[in-house]
Structure formats: structure tokens, C-alpha cells
């Protein structure tokens, strides 16, 4: 690992950055080879060359490891949500930004329609459209679908660069490089950013890490320029994903932690004020967010901390003016009590009068995980929203689970503004990752960064052990040999070969562990996270690979064989795909913004056929689409999802009762099923 010059413990600053091989003759050979090529690089340039080449390789690696499904199947959009994003991006490139921003879509949620311009996060679509227009300007005739498919891997590569700079900010360049490598192949991130997964998270994680990096840089330097940059980073994040709520709550929590530990400073004041005020104003430009920054309970923490910072600044100023300690203490007590009191009263009045809306169900269920199970079945039914078991952690993190506590230890050993931030980010995101599987994605950058600190610090210790052998003449500042005193040195000389061999063995061990990590990540990416979900593959009886393209064939059948104004009723999972590929109006889709409408569909699916017919006539339905796995034993077809239809329908219409469909508490679909189950529409 490259060792930076700024490391004060390293006594010899003129030593070149050695790879962890202690033999001097080999290094001089290397130098002589380089000088033979008349490059004559100095140490600093050698180090720069190594760093830049590592970063370039990591950039390319992050891109190509996400291309498995493109190579195996074809370049297509995966899953369900990306189809909606693709459709909107198509609309944006065809009709222009003004039409896109004011779009009212009558093809989904019949008969209600959907105000798409006001209910989506435009960051992803605008980014892809910009790249498309840029490439077109350079006369590359690409199709918008290719740009959409490859947006996520491109932004994953950019995230590795941001991770490098962030690691450099928190610890040193070595940690930055390791962080970049770890995050390039970490399965937790790959799962939502493979080629074809054209979803908000692909861009949002880049924006998240960028915002955090810019903010930590602003706190470290206290410069207004970096604060401004972090506000714009926050704006990009708000435009990209609803998870921006995490940023707007983590940063005030971090500021509060700094205030409590007595690290208030002018730099923090400048950074937070600039970021909060500008960020809030910019965030309100997104129609979907609107005035939530001043009206919603989830954003109140930021406002509270903002006012608290003003109080701190005021107290600091008064302390400066007033040179009397006792008087100041009395003043301090009164002011803090007043401020807290006024804040509490304001919050109380706001909440009671209904101006400040309470926490929405989606985010409240993160704080109280049992809430969704009892009250919001739609949120509880999504498989990504289940709490996390240990094996999901292991699958997505592997070695990093060992390195994370070790990295936390190193951060606690060397507390600074930046390390406090990464610790808080790591802890809060790990808790949320434990609550919901999907949020492992948000925890991944923190885990990679903290693990990188552990790896970098451990390897630095080990190489220090190796390098003390060559500094026989140095006195004093050599670390790890127990001091440069002659007496102890004499005693240690006989143990030094043992120490050296031990250190070499441990370095090999570390190398082995990291290579196992790389093997694991590649295997997981290839087997688990590269399936398009819309094209299914299985092994036939003779071991040959069988591809099921049933979904797309069905949608194209709809597109070609039904009248253009036909309405299709299906469960909400397939709504986006039907509108994007089948080009027909649907009743409900994945946006799930109207629970009653979905419950109506659920009721129709689970009622007796004559009742269901009435409901469908009232909705003007022409076709019903169901997915049935049949002999292949496909595990996520509508029969397996049926109980969720019953629960959601029953949540709004008490006519539908779940026990009617069960036999002795068990769900059966064969001859012995409940009579209501056998006779319902499904």
C-alpha cells in the first residue's frame, strides 16, 4: 500500500513507497529498470503513478463487474420499477423538459390518472437524458435504452472515485484506495446497480456519498465554497431519491454529536448553515418534495439543530463580550432553558395545529419496525422490506463484517470531526440495514469506508514491523520496535527475524482474505444479482439451460392483439411493465400511491366471480392479467402472492377475510383448498 508523506510517525521521509517486500536489491532493480526507460521518476511521482493506475483499474473494474446480465442475455431493463423510469426518460427525450415536468399520465391508475411531473424524482431521468444528449451531440448514434441500461454501472465507477477522496479525507490515501476497491465490488451495492437496473438508487448512492464527502470537507476546511458544493450535492440527492431524508437527519445528528462532545467551531457553523439554508431552498424546487422541509416532521430535526447552532454562536459571542465568568454561566443557563423551551413550544404548536405533519408510515416503520406489520400491509408485503437475517449480511458484506468493528476501533482511537462522522454514518446505516434488507445498500459505503480504515491501519502496522529491520541506524522515532534504546534493541534483535517472518505471514494472510472477498463478490454478482427478473432461466432435465421469456411475450401479445384503448387489470407488481412494454392502460401500478384503488383490485381478485365481474365492469376493465408459475414451480407468481391480495383488500373492505381462504390455518391451492379459494376470480 502506498504510504503518504504526511505520516509523522514515519521517521524516514526519503524512503520510497515500498511494496510490502523488504528486500532492498529487488527495489533497486525496479528503479534501475525504470531509469533504463529514461523515466527517472522521483518518489513522489512513483507514488502518484501507482495511485492513478490503481484508481483507473478500479474504475474499469467497477464498470465491468456489473455487466454479467448484458453479456448473458441482452441489453434490457430489469425488474419492475426501472420500466417506469425508462418510459419517463423516453418521454423526456422525445418531448422535452417542459412537457415532462408538466406531464399528466392517463394511462395508469385508470380512471384516476397520475400527475407524473409532480410525483417523481427527476434526477435519474434528467441525468440519463443529459448523457444521451451529450453523446448525440458528439454524433454517437446511441439509443436511449442503451444509455439507461449503462447509467448505473457508470455511476458506480464514479462512486469509487468519490470513495477514494472521502477515504483520503477521513484517514489517508491508503485508506482511500482500499475504500475504492472495496466499494467497486461490494455485493451490497452491486445488487441495485447492475447494468439494466435503471433505478433511482444507482444514481442516488453516488449523490449520497458525494454530499457526505463535500460536507465533511466543508467541516474540515470551514470554507464557504465547499459548503456551497455540499448544498448542490444535497440538491442532486433530493432530485434523485426519496432516501434523502436519511441525509437531512444524519447531518443534524452529526452536528449535535459534535456540539455535545465540545467540538463546536466556526468551521462547523459555516458549513452547516450554508448547507442547510441553501440545500433547503434548492430542495424545494422539486415538486414532489415541495414544502416538506418546513412542514414535515421528518425534516424538523434539521431545523431544530439550525436554531441551536444560532444559539451556540450567540452564546459564543456573548462570552467573548462578557469577560465575567459567573455572569456568563447564569446567562448560559437562562438562554439554554429559554431556547429549549421556545423550541419545544413551537414544535408542540406546530404538531398540534397540524401544520407539521407527523412522520409518514414508510419512515416511521424504520424507527418502529413492528408498525408496518400491523398497520400498513402494502409496505410489509414487499419482500425487500423484510428485516435482515445474518445470512443476508454475510452475503452482501463477507469480510467487511469482521473489518467493520475493527475499523470502528481505529476511528475511536483517533477521534476527529471526520471520523466521528463516518462512525455515526456507519452505525445509523447499519441499524437501518438491520431493519430492512433493501437498506443494506445505504450502509454499504459506510461499511466499505470503515473497513478500509481497518485494512489500511492493519497493513500499515504490519509493514512498519517489516521495515524496522532496515532502519538499524535510526534512533528514536521508529515505531513498533519498542523504542530505539540500545538495551531493548539488543534484546529485540534476536526476536526481529521472528517478528519479520510473522509480519510477512500475516501480510500473506491479509492478502488471502482480501482475495477470498474478491472471489465471493464475483460469485455473488454472477449468481444472485445478475438476473433480469423479466427473463427467467432454469436448468432443464438434461442440464441444458432453458430461458423463459414469457413476460415479454405476454406484453407484446397485449400490444399487438388488443385494441389501443383496452384497460388491463392485474396485480400492481406488473403495472409499470404493462404500460411500458404493452402500451396499454392499467388500473394499478407499482407506485402504490392509492391504497383504496389497490384494495379494490385485491377485492376483485379474491371475490366470487359474479361479484368480481361487477367490480370490473365499474372499472371498465377489458382484460385481466395473472401470472401463474405452473409446472415450473415459479415461486413469485400470483398464486403465491394471493394472500397479500386478500390482506390488502381486507384492510379496506372488511368483506374479505383472510381465514376464509385458509384450511386449518394453512394455505392450500389443490383440491383440498377452501371453497372460497376455489371459487374466487383467481
Amino acid at each position: 500500500m502506498a504510504v503518504t508523506k504526511t505520516e509523522p510517525i514515519n521517521g524516514s521521509t526519503t524512503k520510497s513507497s515500498a511494496p510490502p517486500l523488504p528486500s532492498m536489491p529487488l527495489k533497486s532493480d525496479l528503479l534501475s529498470i525504470l531509469s533504463l526507460k529514461s523515466l527517472r521518476l522521483k518518489t513522489k511521482q512513483q507514488e502518484l503513478l501507482i495511485r492513478v493506475s490503481i484508481l483507473c483499474l478500479v474504475y474499469v473494474l467497477a464498470f465491468i463487474t456489473r455487466l454479467f446480465s448484458v453479456l448473458r442475455y441482452e441489453s434490457m431493463i430489469h425488474e419492475f420499477d426501472p420500466y417506469f423510469n425508462y418510459r419517463t426518460t423516453l418521454f423526456l427525450t422525445q418531448k422535452g423538459f417542459y412537457e415532462f415536468w408538466n406531464w399528466f399520465d392517463s394511462e395508469s391508475w385508470y380512471p384516476l390518472g397520475r400527475i407524473i411531473g409532480g410525483t417523481l424524482y427527476p434526477g435519474l431521468m434528467v441525468t440519463a437524458a443529459m448523457m444521451y444528449w451529450g453523446l448525440r451531440f458528439l454524433r454517437f448514434a446511441v439509443h436511449i435504452r442503451e444509455v439507461c441500461v449503462l447509467t448505473a454501472p457508470f455511476f458506480a465507477s464514479n462512486t469509487t472515485l468519490v470513495a477514494y477522496f472521502f477515504g483520503k479525507e477521513i484517514w489517508d490515501t491508503g485508506a482511500g484506495l482500499v475504500a475504492a476497491v472495496l466499494i467497486a465490488i461490494c455485493p451490497g451495492y452491486i445488487s441495485r446497480s447492475v447494468a439494466g437496473s435503471y433505478d433511482n438508487e444507482g444514481v442516488a448512492i453516488f449523490a449520497l456519498l458525494l454530499t457526505f464527502y463535500l460536507f465533511v470537507k466543508a467541516v474540515n476546511t470551514g470554507s464557504l465554497a465547499w459548503g456551497l458544493a455540499s448544498a448542490f450535492g444535497y440538491f442532486y440527492m433530493v432530485s434523485a431519491w426519496g432516501g434523502y431524508v436519511f441525509i437531512i437527519n444524519l447531518i443534524p445528528l452529526y452536528v449535535l454529536a459534535l456540539l455535545i462532545t465540545g467540538r463546536y467551531s466556526m468551521r462547523l457553523y459555516v458549513a452547516y448553515n450554508c448547507m442547510y439554508v441553501l440545500g433547503m431552498l434548492l430542495a424545494m424546487q422539486i415538486r414532489f418534495v415541495g414544502f416538506q422541509h418546513v412542514q414535515s416532521g421528518e425534516h424538523m430535526a434539521a431545523m431544530g439543530v439550525f436554531f441551536l447552532m444560532q444559539v451556540f454562536y450567540f452564546l459564543d459571542w456573548v462570552k467573548h463580550l462578557l469577560n465575567d465568568k459567573k455572569l456568563f454561566e447564569a446567562f448560559l443557563r437562562i438562554t439554554v432553558t429559554c431556547a429549549v423551551g421556545v423550541g419545544a413550544i413551537a414544535l408542540g404548536v406546530g404538531t398540534a395545529s397540524g401544520y407539521i405533519s407527523p412522520w409518514s408510515g414508510r419512515f416511521y416503520s424504520l424507527l418502529d419496525p413492528t408498525y408496518a406489520k400491523d398497520h400498513i400491509p402494502i409496505i410489509a408485503s414487499v419482500s425487500e422490506h423484510q428485516p435482515t437475517a445474518w445470512s443476508s449480511f454475510m452475503f452482501d458484506f463477507h469480510i467487511l463484517l469482521f473489518l467493520f468493528p475493527a475499523g470502528l476501533y481505529f476511528c475511536f482511537k483517533r477521534l476527529s470531526d471526520a471520523t466521528i462522522f463516518i462512525v455515526m454514518y456507519g452505525l445509523t446505516s447499519m441499524y437501518f440495514a438491520g431493519v430492512m434488507v433493501r437498506l443494506i445498500l445505504v450502509a454499504t459505503p459506510a461499511v466499505c469506508l470503515i473497513s478500509a480504515i481497518a485494512v489500511s491501519a492493519t497493513i500499515k502496522n504490519l509493514t512498519m514491523l517489516l521495515r524496522t529491520k532496515s532502519k538499524v541506524s535510526q534512533t528514536g522515532s521508529t515505531k513498533g520496535t519498542g523504542g530505539g534504546k540500545t538495551s531493548s534493541k539488543a534484546m529485540l534483535d534476536q526476536s526481529q527475524p521472528f517478528q519479520r517472518n510473522g509480519a510477512i505471514a500475516l501480510l500473506f494472510g491479509a492478502f488471502y482474505l482480501l482475495s477470498r472477498y474478491a472471489i465471493h463478490c464475483t460469485w455473488v454478482t454472477s449468481e444472485a444479482y445478475s438476473s433480469p427478473s423479466i427473463v427467467l432461466a432454469a436448468r432443464g432435465a438434461h442440464g441444458n439451460r432453458v430461458i423463459f421469456d414469457d413476460y415479454r411475450e405476454a406484453y407484446y401479445w397485449l400490444r399487438q392483439n388488443t385494441p389501443p384503448d383496452a384497460k388491463v387489470m392485474s396485480w400492481w407488481d406488473y403495472g409499470y411493465q404493462i404500460t411500458a412494454m404493452g402500451n396499454r392502460t392499467v388500473i394499478v401500478d407499482n407506485n402504490t400511491w392509492n391504497n383504496t384503488h389497490i384494495a379494490t383490485v385485491g377485492r376483485a381478485m379474491s371475490s366470487y366471480e359474479d361479484e368480481a365481474y361487477e367490480i370490473m365492469r365499474s372499472l371498465d376493465v377489458d382484460y385481466v392479467l395473472v401470472v401463474f408459475g405452473g409446472v415450473t414451480g415459479y415461486s413469485s407468481d400470483d398464486i403465491n402472492k394471493f394472500l397479500w391480495m386478500v390482506r390488502i383488500g381486507g384492510g379496506v373492505f372488511p368483506v374479505i377475510k383472510e381465514p376464509d381462504y385458509l384450511v386449518n390455518g394453512e394455505y392450500r391451492v389443490d383440491k383440498g383448498a377452501a371453497p372460497k379459494m376455489l371459487n374466487c376470480l383467481m
Binding site: 419496525p369 449480511f393 454475510m394 469482521f402 482511537k413 438491520g434 510473522g502
Partner: protein
């Protein structure tokens, strides 16, 4: 009897009132001086209390770190999963030939499912691995005796090796198709 506790209480209350915040500190307020005509409360003697507001000192980083490690253990063992899904502590399977019920430690079939014991033991392995690396770093500290350093180093290395091997074993049992 009556005047003496009076002067005491009067003196203590006057001392208290000069410092406005400690009015709040005066735990149980002393009973009012008994009126002359009733000696019901004369048997009571107000205790001389010395209460102070607990001063808020920040805990040391390493204390916080140990709390953090405990929380990490709980989260990574899947405690939220245990609370919400309420799986059994250990699963059971029936032997097809003898009909006897055998315990089953690892929940088969899904990546995102676990039994409680399984989660706790895997979480423990992860924490042991992390602590091993920490011990290895502590072994390089200059200020300790050599024997302590050697024992830390051995403990650290063996912890990491054991934790890694066990975790790999667990994941192979759980997902039979791992790395094939």
C-alpha cells in the same frame, strides 16, 4: 426544639435561594415549620441533604466503543428479524425413516431467513473476528510487557482465523450451492 430546626431550615433555605438553580435541587422540601399550636410534625426532623445535579461528563471513547460493539453484535445477529418474524429458537426436522424429530440449526431454503440461535452464533463469530483484529493492533502497543504483547498477538490471530473458518462453514451449511 421548635426554634432550632427553624433556624436550620431558615438558614438552609436562604443559602439555597441565592443560587437560583439549586432551588430545583432541594430534594424533598423540608416540612414547614410547625405552627405553635400543633406539635404533630415536631417529631419530624428534616434530613440535611447535600444533593447536586449529576454533572454530565462524557464517557471515554473506549466505553462508547464497547457499547457500540454490543449494539453491532445485536444488529448483525438479526435481532430485528427475530423480533418481527418471531422464528423459533431452533428449527426441527423429521427424519423420514425413523420418524424422530431432529433439531435443525440453520433455516434452509432462503438467504433471508434464520432461527434465533443461528443468528446469535453467527453474530458472535463476526464480533470475534473484529475483536481479533483489534487485539492484533493492541499487540503492537509499545507500552506493554512483552509477554502481554505476545499473548495479545496469538489471541488476535487465532480469533481471526477461527472466526473466518467458522463463518465460511456456516454459510456453506446455510447455502449448499455456495461457490459452485
Amino acid at each position: 426544639m421548635a426554634p432550632k430546626p427553624d433556624s436550620h431550615t431558615l438558614a438552609s433555605t436562604s443559602a439555597a435561594s441565592s443560587d437560583p438553580s439549586s432551588i430545583l435541587l432541594h430534594g424533598p422540601s423540608p416540612p414547614p415549620p410547625p405552627p405553635r399550636f400543633s406539635s404533630v410534625y415536631s417529631v419530624l426532623r428534616p434530613p440535611r441533604l447535600r444533593l447536586k445535579l449529576p454533572t454530565f461528563t462524557l464517557p471515554s471513547p473506549m466505553t462508547v466503543f464497547s457499547l457500540v460493539l454490543l449494539t453491532y453484535f445485536m444488529v448483525v445477529s438479526g435481532i430485528v428479524y427475530d423480533v418481527i418474524v418471531e422464528p423459533p429458537g431452533i428449527g426441527s426436522t423429521q427424519d423420514p425413516y425413523t420418524g424422530s424429530v431432529k433439531p435443525l440449526v440453520f433455516m434452509p431454503g432462503r438467504v433471508n431467513g434464520q432461527y434465533i440461535i443461528e443468528g446469535l452464533s453467527s453474530g458472535f463469530m463476526f464480533v470475534v473476528g473484529g475483536v481479533g483484529i483489534i487485539l492484533m493492533d493492541l499487540a503492537l502497543d509499545k507500552n506493554r510487557a512483552k509477554s502481554v504483547k505476545v499473548s495479545y498477538a496469538t489471541a488476535g490471530i487465532s480469533s481471526v482465523v477461527i472466526a473466518y473458518v467458522m463463518s465460511m462453514l456456516f454459510i456453506r451449511i446455510k447455502i449448499p450451492a455456495y461457490l459452485h
